[in-house]
C-alpha cells in the first residue's frame, strides 16, 4: 500500500480496491495520512491529465464513495467503545479530508452524515436506557448536567438549515484545519459552551413538549432537575441537542452490551447503499416530469441525468438537446452521447453495459454552449446536473449552468435540478466565489498557443453558482422539492453540532 501504487492507478475503483486489500491492522494514523492525500489525486490527477482528460464534473460521487469507504474503514479499525472518541476521530479524519480538497463539499457532507449516524445510534441507546430507568435514579445527575450544558443554543433550533455554518470551507481550510478552538462564532460548537455559559446555553429542552425554538427566550436558566423524559424522545428534532459533550457522559452507557461500532458500520453501509441506488431512485421520478414529445435541454455527462432520461425513455419519446459544456466536460459529454457511459479516462468500472440515450430511440441533438439562448425558445424543460446543492436552495454546477438556468428563466422554461441527497450541503454560501474552482487554462487554449497564455489572462472556471430563484424544482432520491424547502431536507440529514467539522 505504498502511496506510489495509488498514483499509478488513481481511479476511484483502484482506491476502493486498495482499501479492501489494506492489511487489517495498519495504524489508523497511517491510514489517515495515507487517505487524506488520496483526495487530492482525485482532482490532481484529473487536472494534470487535462490535456487529454478534462476535469470531471461529477467527481461528487467518486468522492462520496471514497469517503464512505474510508470512514467505514476508520470506524472498523476504531478501538474502544467510547462514542465521543469515535466522533472525535471521525471529525479529525473529516477535517483532514476537507482541507485536502475543500471544494469537494460532498466529502464534508458524508463526514457529517456519518457523525450524525453515530449520534443517532447513541441517542437511541440513550432513549432505551432512559426508558429503562425512568425514575431518573443513578444517572439523573449526569444527565441533567449534560443537558444544561448541551442545550446551548438559546433558541435551540433544531432546524439545521437555520443553524448557520460560519464555516466557510475554503478560507478556514486554508488557514487552519478548523478545530473547535475556533469557537467564537460557531453557533453550535461545543466551544461556545465555555465561552458563553448559562445565559444562552442553558435551556430546558422540555420547556414545551413540542420543542419550540421561539420559546427559547423563556427557558429555564439553571434548573437542576431536568430529568424527566429524555430529549430524544419528544421529537426527532431534539435529538440534535446531544452533542459531543453528552456523548462523553454517555460513555458509560456504551460500556454495557452495546456494540456501537457495529451499529455505526451498519449505518455507513446503508449510506453506501444509498449512494449506489441514488440515481435509480431519482430516475423513478422521471415519468412524472418528462412527457412525450418534450424537448429537454441538459448539460454535462452526469450519470444521474442520463439515468433519469433513460428511465423516461422507456415509456416516452422525447428529444434531448445536450450542451457540450466546453471546455471542461465536453469529452465526457460526447462520450456519454456516444456510449451512454461517462468515460472517466480510466474505464475501470466495467459494470453493466450502458446504453446511450440514442439507442433507446431518443433524439439527441448536441449543441455548443453558445447556442443555449438560441435554442431555449423551443425547449420545454431544462434538466441540470449539479456538483453541490447548498442549504439556501442554490447550487454549484458545471460552468455554464448559470447561463442555462438564466436563459431558461428568461424564456419561462422550468429548470429541474437532479441531485442525490448526499450532494446537499449544510454549508451556507457566504462567498460564492470560494466554492468556484478554476481549471487549467490549457483546456481553453491549447498549449501550442503558449504565447497567447503568456499575454492573455486565460480563465477556466469549472463551476457556476446558480441562485435558488433560477431553479424551479429539485429532484432528489427523496422526491421532488421546491428550492425553498431544501433547508428542511438539509436539516433532516445533518446534525447542527456537526456543521462545523
Amino acid at each position: 500500500m505504498s502511496p506510489g501504487a495509488v498514483a499509478v492507478t488513481p481511479g476511484l475503483s483502484s482506491f476502493l480496491k486498495s482499501l479492501k486489500s489494506t492489511p487489517v491492522e495498519p495504524s489508523i494514523e497511517h491510514f489517515i495520512s495515507y487517505s487524506s492525500p488520496i483526495q487530492e489525486p482525485h482532482t490532481q490527477q484529473l487536472t494534470s491529465h487535462s490535456l487529454l482528460k478534462r476535469r470531471q464534473i461529477r467527481n461528487s460521487r467518486p468522492c462520496a464513495l471514497a469517503t464512505t469507504a474510508l470512514l467505514l474503514r476508520v470506524v472498523g479499525e476504531f478501538k474502544g467503545r467510547d462514542a465521543a472518541k469515535l466522533v472525535e476521530r471521525i471529525r479529525q479524519v473529516g477535517r483532514r479530508l476537507t482541507s485536502a480538497q475543500p471544494r469537494e463539499v460532498v466529502v464534508g457532507n458524508i463526514v457529517r452524515r456519518v457523525l450524525g449516524l453515530i449520534r443517532e445510534v447513541v441517542d437511541e441507546k440513550l432513549d432505551e436506557d432512559a426508558n429503562a430507568n425512568s425514575d431518573f435514579g443513578n444517572n439523573s445527575e449526569s444527565q441533567s448536567q449534560s443537558q444544561t450544558q448541551t442545550q446551548h443554543d438559546s433558541l435551540h433550533r433544531p432546524t439545521l438549515a437555520s443553524s448557520i455554518s460560519t464555516f466557510s470551507p475554503l478560507k478556514y481550510a486554508a488557514l487552519e484545519p478548523m478545530d473547535s478552538s475556533f469557537p467564537s462564532e460557531n453557533m453550535s460548537d461545543s466551544g461556545e459552551l465555555t465561552k458563553r455559559p448559562p445565559l444562552l446555553t442553558s435551556h430546558t429542552s422540555t420547556a414545551a413538549p413540542l420543542v419550540n425554538s421561539l420559546f427559547g427566550l423563556f427557558s429555564q436558566p439553571d434548573t437542576p432537575s431536568t430529568s424527566n423524559t429524555p430529549t430524544g424522545h419528544q421529537s426527532p428534532d431534539s435529538k440534535s441537542m446531544v452533542t459531543a459533550l453528552n456523548l462523553e457522559r454517555l460513555a458509560d452507557f456504551t460500556k454495557t452490551n452495546f456494540d456501537l461500532k457495529a451499529e455505526v458500520m451498519d449505518g455507513i453501509r446503508e449510506l453506501q447503499d444509498e449512494l449506489d441506488q441514488v440515481d435509480d431512485q431519482i430516475a423513478a421520478n422521471a415519468l412524472d416530469h418528462i412527457h412525450s414529445n418534450e424537448i429537454i435541454l441538459t448539460h454535462t455527462a452526469s450519470t444521474s441525468v442520463q439515468t433519469f432520461l433513460l428511465a423516461a425513455a422507456r415509456k416516452r419519446k422525447f428529444t434531448v438537446v445536450h450542451c457540450e459544456t466546453f471546455p471542461h466536460d465536453h469529452t465526457a459529454t460526447h462520450g456519454v452521447l456516444l456510449t451512454g457511459k461517462e468515460s472517466d479516462g480510466h474505464a475501470d468500472d466495467a459494470e453493466e453495459a450502458w446504453k446511450p440515450l440514442t439507442a433507446a430511440g431518443i433524439q439527441v441533438v448536441m449543441i455548443p454552449d453558445s447556442h443555449v439562448f438560441a435554442i431555449m425558445s423551443r425547449v420545454n424543460k431544462v434538466i441540470l446536473a449539479t456538483h453541490t446543492v447548498l442549504a439556501n436552495g442554490g447550487l454549484v454546477a458545471a460552468a455554464g449552468a448559470h447561463m442555462i438556468a438564466k436563459a431558461a428563466k428568461v424564456h419561462q422554461t422550468p429548470v429541474v435540478v437532479v441531485s442525490g441527497v448526499y450532494k446537499l450541503s449544510p454549508v451556507y454560501p457566504f462567498d460564492i466565489q470560494e466554492l468556484i474552482e478554476y481549471g487549467d487554462a490549457g483546456s481553453v487554449v491549447p498549449y501550442e498557443d503558449g504565447d497567447f497564455v503568456d499575454k492573455v489572462d486565460v480563465e477556466n472556471p469549472l463551476y457556476d453558482y446558480v441562485p435558488a430563484d433560477l431553479v424551479d424544482l429539485y429532484i432528489t432520491n427523496l422526491g421532488g422539492h421546491a428550492p425553498s424547502y431544501l433547508y428542511r431536507i438539509v436539516a433532516d440529514h445533518y446534525r447542527s453540532e456537526d456543521i462545523n467539522l
Binding site: 439527441v364 455548443p368 498557443d449
Partner: protein, 516 residues
C-alpha cells in the same frame, strides 16, 4: 481541404465513372471563363465520384432548393438566411430574374441544374449531405427549414462566369478566413470591383441592363452557395444594383465602369471606413478610466474602439468571451494583448464569471433588426442576458449599413446553419478515440464495415472515425448555427455613425440611411 483528400481516399473507385462525363465538361468551362491558376489547382484536387442515380437525385433536390430560394429572395436580395423578401426587393429583381432565365439558357450558359451538381462533388460534402438529410428529417422542430442548401466548400463546380477573385473569396467565406459581416461585405465589394473591371458589355445590350443580371448574379449566387449572404452584403448588393440600374445607357462603357468603381470605393469609404471612425470615436469616449470592457467573439469595430481608447491613454482592461468552434475572440484577445492591453479570456461557459468582473459590454453586430433586436454571433444573446442581469450597460457598435428591415423574434426562424462536423476539433475527436470499445454494437459494426470497405490500411483509430461514429449513431446529431437574436431589452445603446440610439430607433435610422 484536408477533409477533401481524406474523403477522397474513402470513396470507392467504382464511382469514378460518373466523374468522367462531368469533369472535362466543367473543367473546360472553367478554363474558358477563367484565367486564374487557382481554380485549376482546385480542379485537379477535386474528385467527384457519385453514382449517376445519386447525382440525379441531388441535382433535382438542389434545383428545387435553388428555385425556392430564387423565388424567395430574387437575385438582388441579400440572402438573409431566412430568405425573407423585403418589400423593396420583391418587384424589380424578381421580374428581372424571370425575364432573364430564358435568355441565359439561350446563350448556352450552363444551366443552373447542370452546374450545381458538380459543385457538390467534393466528398466531404457527401458526408455532410448525409447528415443534412438526416437532420432535415429529424430536426423539423428546430432548424429543418434551414437545411435546404448544402454548403459549397470548393470552387470546383462554379460556373465559368464566376470571376476568379470571387471564386477565391467564396472559399475564404466558407472556410471562415474572411469572417465577420463588415469584412465579408467589403471584400465582396472589392471583388466586384475586379469583376466590373473585366466586364465587357456584350453587343446589343446596355451595361445597366446586362451587368447586374448576367454578370453579377452568378457571382452572387456563387458566394451565396459558399455561405449565405450576410445582411450587410445584401444591403451592399442592393445598393450596387440600384446604382447600376441608374446608369444612363448613353454613358460610354469605360466611363460607366469608372463611375461604378469610384462609387464602390466611395461606398466603402462612407459607409464603412468613415462610419467606423465615427463609431469608434463615439464609443471610445464611453470607455472610462478603470473600466472593464467585456466583449464577445470578435468584432472589427469593437477592436478599433478598444485600441483607440487605449491609445488615448485610458486605463482599462478587457475581457474577451469566446466560444467554439470558431474561437474568433482568440485573435482579438491576442491583438489587444499585443497592443499592451490587459486582457482576460474566457469561454462562454465562464460568461457568468466574466460579467461579474466587467463594467461595460461592447458588442459587434451582424445586423440590427428593425424590431431593435441584435442579430449576431451565436452566444451574444447569452452574454447580453447575463450582462443585463448584472445591470451592465450593453452597447452595440454597428454601422448603419448592417441595419435591416427584417424583424425576428427568435433565433430559430432565421439563422445560418453551419456544417456540424466543424464542431469537433481534431483534438476533441482524438480525445474520444478511447471510447471505441464502449460504443454500441450497431455503431461500431457499421464503422468497421466502412473500414473494411475502404481497404482499411490506415490506422483504425483516426480522429475522423469519431465523426463517423456520430453520423452512424442513430438519433444522434450535432447542430451548429452561427447566429442568435438578442432581445432589444438587453441592449442599452446602439452606436452608429449617425450617433447613439436606443434599439427602438433602429428602423428610423435604417429608413434614413437607405433613403439618402
Amino acid at each position: 481541404m484536408s477533409k477533401t483528400t481524406e474523403g477522397e481516399a474513402v470513396q470507392p473507385p467504382a464511382e469514378k465513372i460518373a466523374e468522367g462525363d462531368l469533369k472535362p465538361q466543367t473543367e473546360s468551362k472553367v478554363e474558358a471563363g477563367v484565367e486564374d491558376k487557382k481554380p485549376q489547382a482546385a480542379e485537379t484536387d477535386r474528385a467527384p465520384k457519385l453514382s449517376a442515380a445519386e447525382l440525379k437525385k441531388r441535382k433535382q433536390a438542389e434545383k428545387q432548393a435553388r428555385r425556392a430560394q430564387a423565388k424567395g429572395a430574387g437575385p438582388s436580395t441579400s440572402g438573409p438566411p431566412t430568405q425573407q423578401k423585403g418589400p423593396a426587393a420583391r418587384d424589380g429583381p424578381k421580374q428581372q430574374k424571370d425575364a432573364k432565365q430564358p435568355a441565359k439558357e439561350g446563350q448556352s450558359r450552363p444551366l443552373p441544374a447542370r452546374r450545381r451538381p458538380s459543385q457538390s462533388e467534393v466528398p466531404v460534402l457527401e458526408k455532410a449531405k448525409k447528415e443534412v438529410k438526416k437532420e432535415t428529417k429529424q430536426q423539423g422542430l428546430f432548424f429543418g427549414h434551414l437545411y435546404n442548401q448544402p454548403r459549397q466548400h470548393s470552387m470546383v463546380g462554379a460556373s465559368k462566369d464566376v470571376h476568379p477573385a470571387v471564386l477565391a473569396l467564396g472559399l475564404q467565406y466558407s472556410s471562415y478566413v474572411v469572417c465577420g459581416s463588415t469584412a465579408r461585405m467589403v471584400s465582396m465589394l472589392l471583388a466586384f470591383k475586379a469583376v466590373i473591371e473585366t466586364y465587357q458589355t456584350p453587343v446589343g445590350t446596355s451595361l445597366a441592363r446586362h451587368l447586374t443580371s448576367h454578370h453579377l448574379s452568378p457571382q452572387i449566387d456563387y458566394l451565396r452557395s459558399c455561405r449565405p449572404l450576410s445582411i450587410s452584403m445584401g444591403n451592399a448588393i442592393r445598393w450596387l444594383k440600384d446604382i447600376i440600374i441608374k446608369i444612363d445607357p448613353s454613358t460610354p462603357e469605360a466611363q460607366a465602369k469608372r463611375d461604378l468603381l469610384s462609387e464602390i470605393d466611395n461606398f466603402i469609404l462612407q459607409r464603412i471606413t468613415a462610419a467606423d471612425e465615427l463609431i469608434a470615436e463615439t464609443a471610445a469616449k464611453k470607455i472610462e478610466e478603470g473600466d472593464v470592457i467585456l466583449t464577445y467573439a470578435s468584432s472589427s469595430i469593437v477592436e478599433k474602439t478598444l485600441l483607440r481608447a487605449h491609445n488615448a491613454g485610458v486605463k482599462f482592461s478587457v475581457i474577451v468571451v469566446d466560444s467554439k468552434p470558431l474561437f474568433e475572440g482568440k485573435r482579438l484577445a491576442r491583438d489587444l494583448a499585443n497592443h499592451g492591453l490587459k486582457v482576460k479570456y474566457l469561454l462562454i461557459t465562464g460568461a457568468s464569471h466574466a460579467v461579474r468582473d466587467a463594467s461595460k459590454v461592447f458588442l459587434g453586430a451582424h445586423a440590427m433588426m428593425s424590431n431593435g433586436r441584435l442579430y449576431s454571433r451565436v452566444g451574444t444573446a447569452l452574454v447580453s442576458m447575463l450582462a443585463n442581469d448584472h445591470s451592465l450597460p450593453v452597447i452595440v457598435l454597428c454601422e448603419s449599413v448592417k441595419f435591416t428591415e427584417r424583424v425576428a423574434l427568435d433565433s430559430i426562424v432565421g439563422n445560418e446553419v453551419a456544417p456540424a462536423d466543424e464542431l469537433l476539433s481534431e483534438s476533441e475527436r482524438k480525445d474520444l478515440l478511447p471510447l471505441k470499445p464502449f460504443l454500441p454494437k450497431s455503431v461500431t459494426a457499421r464503422a468497421d464495415e466502412k473500414d473494411k470497405s475502404e481497404g482499411g490500411e490506415e490506422a483504425k483509430d483516426s480522429p475522423e472515425d469519431v465523426l463517423k461514429w456520430i453520423v452512424d449513431s442513430p438519433n444522434l446529431q450535432m447542430l451548429q448555427v452561427l447566429y442568435d437574436v438578442t432581445p432589444a431589452e438587453y441592449i442599452n445603446m446602439v452606436i452608429t455613425e449617425y450617433g447613439s440610439l436606443p434599439p427602438s430607433s433602429v428602423p428610423v435610422v435604417h429608413r434614413l440611411s437607405t433613403n439618402i
